[in-house]
Structure formats: structure tokens, C-alpha cells
Symmetry: C2
Subunit: 305 residues, 2 copies
């Protein structure tokens, strides 16, 4: 996600882009080769590093997070540290350096198991079902509190799961890895009937930059759902991946309507708010899945484990 | 709050009650004198202390928090530490000791500046306006995530501001302190038109214990608003306090519709959910204010600063 944002900013003429990543799930290879781009390997839990690094910048895209919703119960403090504390560190480094604007990668998971589909930004307050989503709700609240308290401009983007080149998180890379090891069988969490929306990362970046550009002066807080109007079943997604790889594995469904505790079996976001600015996805979910799978062939380092 | 819960549990026949408090805002004098009550002075950020203390218990009332919403911007990390991290410590100590049930003191502030009044539990997802409320939303989410992930039973109570004997937090003690020092003038935040609901702490404790008692078997998560159907303006509250103290200060309103950044000028919670269990407040807001003021006369230690 971060590398896609950085590349787009450079393409759009940014004078300088600094990328901060601890490379826990990111890849050095994805940092753009451009004299205007600099890379700082460091952790967002290192406040002093952030305080130094943010000097002289005027906008932060805060995309760093522990996004591992599946395993959040195994390491219950990880999301709190990496998503809540790290976000407050970002906000404090902004205060220290008088950086007044931040865009934040939140998640459609903040809606829990929504009663309303497609789910709008002002859906009924849900019961939070995962530490991951809880940590994102908390990070959102820190952003809006700092916006009101310290005069920041904040953009909160609640995504569906993303797809696209080099997208090294989520079910596509999981299935890809398994099928490369053993194309004869594919274990799948849940019953395959979970139905979710996805979005190509390039469409996502376009939406974010448009929202930042179109923000009415004086509005300190913007919250947007970002997702595709299409949604597909896990079982369909599996078919697309297998067809693309030319394999016919035995599909071994674990059963149950949810992939894991806190998994929402249905995700579809209402995107009227961002569409009102003139945005729409340019790529179908199927094309996005194929794009993701093909990118793994040309980026072998993504498959390092 | 905690001392009122402890006293009620003892009156209801509890075999043993352990009170943990760092006395940062609590008072040793409020710990019930009862052979079944024991007191542990300690901080919820001390995980080892919690792990030891929770041994042999079967229910936790987690009422500890930094409740200082007014000053949350001055010390931005305090609410995160004392309300989010401390809550996760409580949950981890419960896991370590196989304690499976917890009641949590949340706040009506989680609704931000609600568009719907009275505000129901499933109000539209608000924009969080304070680090305090953000930290309570996060704590709620941790409780519900642990409930689903680890099989806990959790009760979340979203209160209006409380009143009652020895209630050493909020506007009544603030005004009382100021008027005892200088009865000729009273500085008041905002324009005095903020209109809020309050609840007597004894009515609040009754509601919590009723909700715990009536929980349907199998329901792991309960969320209740607790508040009075009445609400009053700050200016009315001031009149009641002044009349009770027999003083006529010059009222010096700071102006503005909010007392502080993140103050919600209107707070009234829909309490249909708890009322459906047969609960209703027994004391008017006026009687509760008077009860609070009178208690300060007989509990001089509450006025220590």
C-alpha cells in the first residue's frame, strides 16, 4: 500500500517522499528508485525516530499497521502496540514537527458484522469482533480527537481488502503460496461462502488522493469508505486463482460460516460518499485478482517467508 | 464508583471482595471496613500485580480509568495508558486466572456529539471528539473481542456523569471547591447552556447488578446505556449547588457552547434497554446534586487537592 502511494505521489510531481517502514511485512525492493524518494528503516514504536524523520514534511500517509486480523488473538497486544500506540506516535511526531495533515488506512472491519449492507460510514455503532478492528477504531478516534484538539486535517479511509501488484497480504498470496508448494490440494478457512468486496490498490490510491485534493477548506475531518460495488464469494476467488495458475486442487473447506474468530462473513461498503467526488473503480475484482497473481511471478521476493 | 459497587456487593452477601486502586483519584477512606473486603494499592499498568491479585476471583468490576476528559489533550497519552492498556491488562489477568466475567464502566461520551437524542446504544457511528472517549471505545472493543475470542462474559455500561455521596469527580465537586474558597464568584466553562443527564451512583450500581443478574445464558456480550430520563442545564445545576451552600456568587461564564474541546453540549441517553429489565432511577437529578454536596461536608478528605 505504502509503496503504491509513494510511487503515485512521485508520478504526480512530489518534491520529496520519505518512506518509513520496519520491513516486518514490507519489502525494501518496493521502495521506488527515485532521487526524490528516501527510505528510513525504522519502527513506529520508536518515537525519537519519527520525531527526526517527520521534520520538514507537510503531509503524512499513515499506512503502517499490523493487519493480521486472523492471528490477532494469538498475540493480543500486537494490534494495540502497532495500531494504537504507533498511531499516537505518528500524531505526536506531527505535533512536534508542525505537520498538520494525515491520511490514514483504516478498515471496513470497523463495522463488525454489519446489519446494513452495503454499509455506510454512519452505520449503527457495531459490537467490535476483533482486536484488529478495535485497534483501527481507536486509531481513527485518536486522529479525529487530535484534529479537533490540535487543528490537524485528517482523512480516514475504511478499505475493503486490497488487491494488486505486489500485494503481499491477504487470501490471494496465501492461496498462491500453498498452490505453488502443493497444487494438488488447497485448505480453505470457512465454507467458501463468505462474500466480500475487494479493491485494486491503484483504484484505492486514486480515491485517497482525490479525497485529499477535493477536501473543502475548513473541514478538518473526512471519513470515506473505499470499496468495489462488486463482491465475490471466496469459492469464486479460488476458481479465478486456480484457473490463472492452471491447477485443479482438491478444495478442502474447514467449514463454518467464518474464516476465523472476528471474521465478518459479508463485507460490502457503501461508497456513495467517495463516488460523489467523481471516483469509481476502474478494475473488476476478477481482473484485480489476476493482476495480483501475475505480479507474484515477477516479484519472487514477495514469496520469501 | 468502585467503593459503591464494593459496598453493595458486600451488602448483597459477597463472600469476598478485593479492591484494587492506585489511589491516584480514589481514597483509602472509601474502602469498606469489612472482614470480607481486602484492599490492594496498586496500578493497573502493573501486570504482575493484577495477575497475582485476580487469583481465586470469579467476577471483575473494571471501574478504574482516567476520567479527566477536560484535560485529555494536555496529557495525550494518559487516557491511552490508563484506559486502553490498563483494560487489556485486566483482560490478560482474567485470562491468566481463568476469571470469565467482567463489567466495565464505559461512558455516554462514546457517542461523540450525537445526532439522535435520547441516544440509543446502536446510534450511528460517531466521529470521536476526545482521546478520553476514544480510549473508552477501544476498551469496549477489547472486551467484546476477548468475549468472542476467549469466551468471556462482558457487560459494558455507558454512563452519563454520576452523582452521589463522596463523588469526587465532575462539576459538582469542582464548583463546591471553588465556592468554599471564594463564595463571591464562580467561573463556569462554556455558556451554561450545556444540557446533560446525570445519574445517582446508587441507581447506577443497581442497574449494573440487575443487568448482570438478568443476563440470558449464552449471551456473552451486553451493552447498556445508564442514565436519567431528566437532563438539566449547567446553569440550573449551579443554582441548586449555590442554594444548598447558601451562597450567591457572581457567575462568570467563559462563553462558547462547549465547556472544553471534546465536550458534548447535549447528553441524554436512551435507556429503554435497561428499563426493559425493570430498572428505573429512584432519585431526581436535583436530589442527587444535593446528596453529593452534603456528602462533602461529612467527608472532608474528599477535598484534599
Amino acid at each position: 500500500m505504502g509503496s503504491h502511494v509513494a510511487r503515485r505521489l512521485l508520478a504526480d510531481g512530489a518534491a520529496r517522499v520519505t518512506i518509513v517502514d520496519n520491513l516486518s511485512t514490507g519489502f525494501r525492493e518496493l521502495v521506488p528508485s527515485d532521487p526524490r524518494a528516501s527510505f528510513v528503516q525504522g519502527d513506529l514504536l520508536d518515537q525519537a525516530l519519527l520525531d527526526r524523520t517527520f521534520a520538514g514534511h507537510d503531509f503524512v500517509f499513515h499506512m503502517a499497521a499490523n493487519a493480521d486480523i486472523k492471528d490477532n488473538l494469538a498475540v493480543p497486544r500486537k494490534c494495540v502496540d502497532q495500531n494504537i500506540i504507533a498511531t499516537q506516535n505518528v500524531l505526536e511526531a506531527m505535533r512536534a514537527n508542525k505537520v498538520g495533515a494525515v491520511a490514514f488506512a483504516s478498515t471496513g472491519s470497523v463495522y463488525g458484522e454489519p446489519e446494513v449492507l452495503p454499509t455506510p460510514e454512519d452505520a449503527p455503532m457495531p459490537v467490535q469482533t476483533s482486536i484488529y478492528a478495535t485497534s483501527k477504531v481507536a486509531a481513527e478516534g485518536l486522529l479525529t480527537s487530535y484534529a479537533l484538539g490540535f487543528g490537524f486535517n485528517v482523512w480516514i479511509f475504511r478499505f475493503v481488502s486490497l488487491l494488486g501488484p505486489a500485494y503481499s497480504h491477504g487470501h490471494v498470496i496465501d492461496f498462491y503460496r500453498r498452490l505453488r508448494k502443493d497444487p494438488s490440494r488447497l485448505p480453505i478457512l470457512g465454507d467458501g461462502k463468505q462474500r466480500k468486496s475487494y479493491l485494486h490498490v491503484e483504484d484505492c490510491v486514486s480515491a485517497m488522493l482525490l479525497a485529499v485534493e477535493k477536501q473543502p477548506a475548513g473541514d478538518r475531518i473526512a471519513i470515506y469508505n473505499l470499496g468495489h460495488q462488486e463482491w465475490i464469494e471466496v469459492s469464486e476467488s479460488v476458481k479465478i486463482i486456480c484457473r490463472e495458475l492452471g491447477v485443479s486442487p482438491k478444495l478442502e473447506y474447514a467449514g463454518g460460516t467464518r474464516g476465523w474468530v472476528g471474521d465478518s462473513p459479508k463485507i460490502l461498503l457503501a461508497t456513495d460518499r467517495i463516488r460523489a467526488l467523481g471516483w469509481a473503480p476502474t478494475k473488476s475484482i476478477e481482473a484485480s485478482i489476476i493482476d495480483t497473481v501475475r505480479s507474484f511471478e515477477s516479484h519472487a521476493y514477495l514469496l520469501r517467508e
